[in-house]
């Protein structure tokens, strides 16, 4: 527990900045909805004439005139990019930073097994992601109360469950990669999250790239699918869970046998 608490304390400032930033943007977005709703006719026309761009962001299946549709598109992108980046940074730096900052020697010469260190660090990544999502959900619910609207709760819960799983998957993949690298972690983490995000956009635009949906976690967190079907594509999510578990196992296997650089 000592390392878990240390990790949470160390990342508290970063967590707060990311959570407040994402939460604030969600709040602004939801607050914009009443104005958007009143301009619905012109907005719909604009989006209808955007061709592939409309499909890329799932706007062909969601209505901007409804809070849930608007929330799925706008807030989905904020959670997708912001949440994905946060999860990537939390996961990628958790092990690599110990060697980059040369603190691994201090940490690993205490009587704590490496698997315990890894487990506590992984739990701290999960905790940060879960707490960030909980805070953002709270802010979203509060925003709806402020504008006097209500979400469709089933879709809202499913959407946020999918975002949470998506971020956990990105966190797990980055955790696995973190075991292999010693420096340059931020670039790799952000690059990976961005690549996965664009994979989903490509997947939405082109049928030929459909197989990418099995790779990117953004596919099962696609708001247009979840809101229009009122369900998560569990087949894709199970693939995501399998990738997450595999990434963590590979990360453990590597780190347990890794020579720690001086």
């Amino acid at each position: 527990m000592t390392i878990y608490i240390k990790e949470l304390k160390q990342s508290a400032k970063s967590w707060l900045i990311w959570t407040l930033s994402i939460g604030f943007m969600m709040l602004i977005c939801v607050m914009m909805f009443p104005e958007m709703e009143s301009q619905m006719d012109s907005v719909t026309d604009v989006f209808a004439n955007m061709g592939g761009f409309t499909a890329a962001f799932g706007m062909d299946r969601l209505s901007f005139g409804e809070l849930m549709g608007f929330y799925g598109i706008e807030c989905g992108n904020i959670m997708g990019i912001g949440g994905g980046f946060f999860a990537a940074l939390a996961g990628i730096s958790v092990l690599a930073n110990e060697e980059k900052e040369r603190t691994a020697e201090f940490l690993l010469t205490h009587p704590v097994s490496r698997d315990s260190v890894l487990f506590q660090k992984l739990m701290s990544v999960f905790t940060q992601i879960i707490l960030m999502n909980a805070a953002v959900v709270g802010i979203s619910l509060l925003s709806a109360v402020i504008i006097g609207e209500e979400y469709k709760m089933t879709e809202f819960v499913l959407l946020h469950a999918a975002y949470l799983m998506m971020q956990i998957e990105i966190g797990c993949i980055c955790f696995g990669i973190s075991a292999f690298i010693r420096r340059g972690s931020i670039g790799i983490g952000l690059g990976l999250a961005l690549a996965l995000y664009f994979m989903n956009i490509i997947c939405n635009i082109s049928d030929k790239a459909e197989s990418l949906k099995y790779i990117t976690p953004y596919a099962y967190a696609e708001a247009s699918n979840i809101i229009s079907e009122a369900e998560i594509d569990m087949k894709l999510m199970w693939v995501g869970i399998a990738i997450s578990v595999l990434a963590v196992i590979i990360g453990f296997m590597k780190y347990l046998k890794k020579d720690i650089s001086a």
Partner: protein
């Protein structure tokens, strides 16, 4: 009882050398010096013993336990001070000391307080604001606060001022008297000679000497000083010769009779033969390429 034992311990980094077939034995109660210049393999040996890196071949044990499979048990009774002390930026000294104790699941607050007072360490400072010397002091507290049975210290005095070095060795000697085994890696030979009971010399990853400091100093090489002459004797092999106005001094490792014959015809006014210092022994070992 042997506290540290390595058998043909080898560590390579790809094609690069680390340590080669190292056979080392440190006994309980030893104040053991591990001598070698930078890059000789001292830190590699220590990092392997502590489980930071894995041996390529050979075995090593501490307290009779295997360093790979029983690392966590071993580390409970080990205090380690690295050559470069790095801590988590943003944390305060007291948090680092408390984190170290927390990872040992021990309340070491009283001993930590005592050590901080002796070392004049300000616990309220953030670690990223500390000078090298103060980081070293924080590292000493982390390594010693739980009163380990074995202290492994890698170049511990670099960055400490002479007063603090004296205080540090005072603390180490107290721990030694209380029964702790001290393993001190250093290239400062005077501190090994002054403090250690046994020592090993490592050269290019291989152990070239292991004995008591007293016996190491009694090697066959002697420091010979001749007064009244300004040239080294001819016909004998000498090393580290230095000529001054007063005379000539050199290291000689051969037969005394041959030396006396060589100086017999020289106009010397005085001659002294003394045991060389450990630094000279070290150079002797290095120049002749080991025993």
């Amino acid at each position: 009882m042997t506290v540290i034992e390595t058998k043909k311990l080898t560590k390579t980094y790809g094609s690069a050398r680390g340590i080669t077939e190292l056979d080392l034995a440190v006994n309980e109660g030893d104040f053991f010096g591990f001598i070698g210049p930078n890059g000789a393999g001292k830190s590699t040996t220590i990092r392997t013993l502590l489980g930071l890196i894995f041996p390529t071949s050979g075995t090593a044990s501490i307290f009779g336990k295997d360093i790979v499979s029983q690392k966590t048990e071993i580390l409970r009774d080990v205090g380690y001070m690295p050559s470069e002390a790095n801590f988590y930026n943003g944390m305060r000294v007291r948090d680092i000391i408390s984190l170290s104790a927390g990872m040992r699941k021990k309340d070491c607050s009283e001993e930590a307080k005592r050590l901080c007072e002796r070392l004049d360490l300000d616990c309220s400072k953030r670690v990223d604001e500390l000078s090298l010397g103060n980081r070293k002091k924080a590292s000493i507290v982390c390594a010693l606060q739980h009163k380990p049975k074995l202290c492994i210290l890698d170049e511990p005095t670099s960055g400490l001022d002479p007063l603090m070095q004296r205080e540090f060795f005072g603390i180490l000697r107290e721990r030694h008297e209380e029964g702790a085994t001290i393993f001190l890696s250093s290239h400062i030979l005077s501190e090994i000679q002054k403090n250690c009971t046994r020592a090993a010399i490592i050269k290019e990853g291989r152990l070239i000497a292991l004995d008591s400091v007293e016996n190491l100093s009694k090697t066959s090489a002697k420091r010979v000083t001749l007064h009244g002459v300004t040239a080294v004797p001819e016909g004998i092999s000498v090393k580290s010769a230095e000529v001054s106005e007063d005379g000539v001094t050199f290291l000689y490792g051969g037969e005394i009779k041959a030396l006396l014959s060589a100086v017999d015809q020289m106009p010397i006014t005085d001659m002294t033969i003394t045991e060389p210092g450990l630094d000279e022994i070290f150079m002797h070992f290095y120049e002749k390429g080991g025993k």
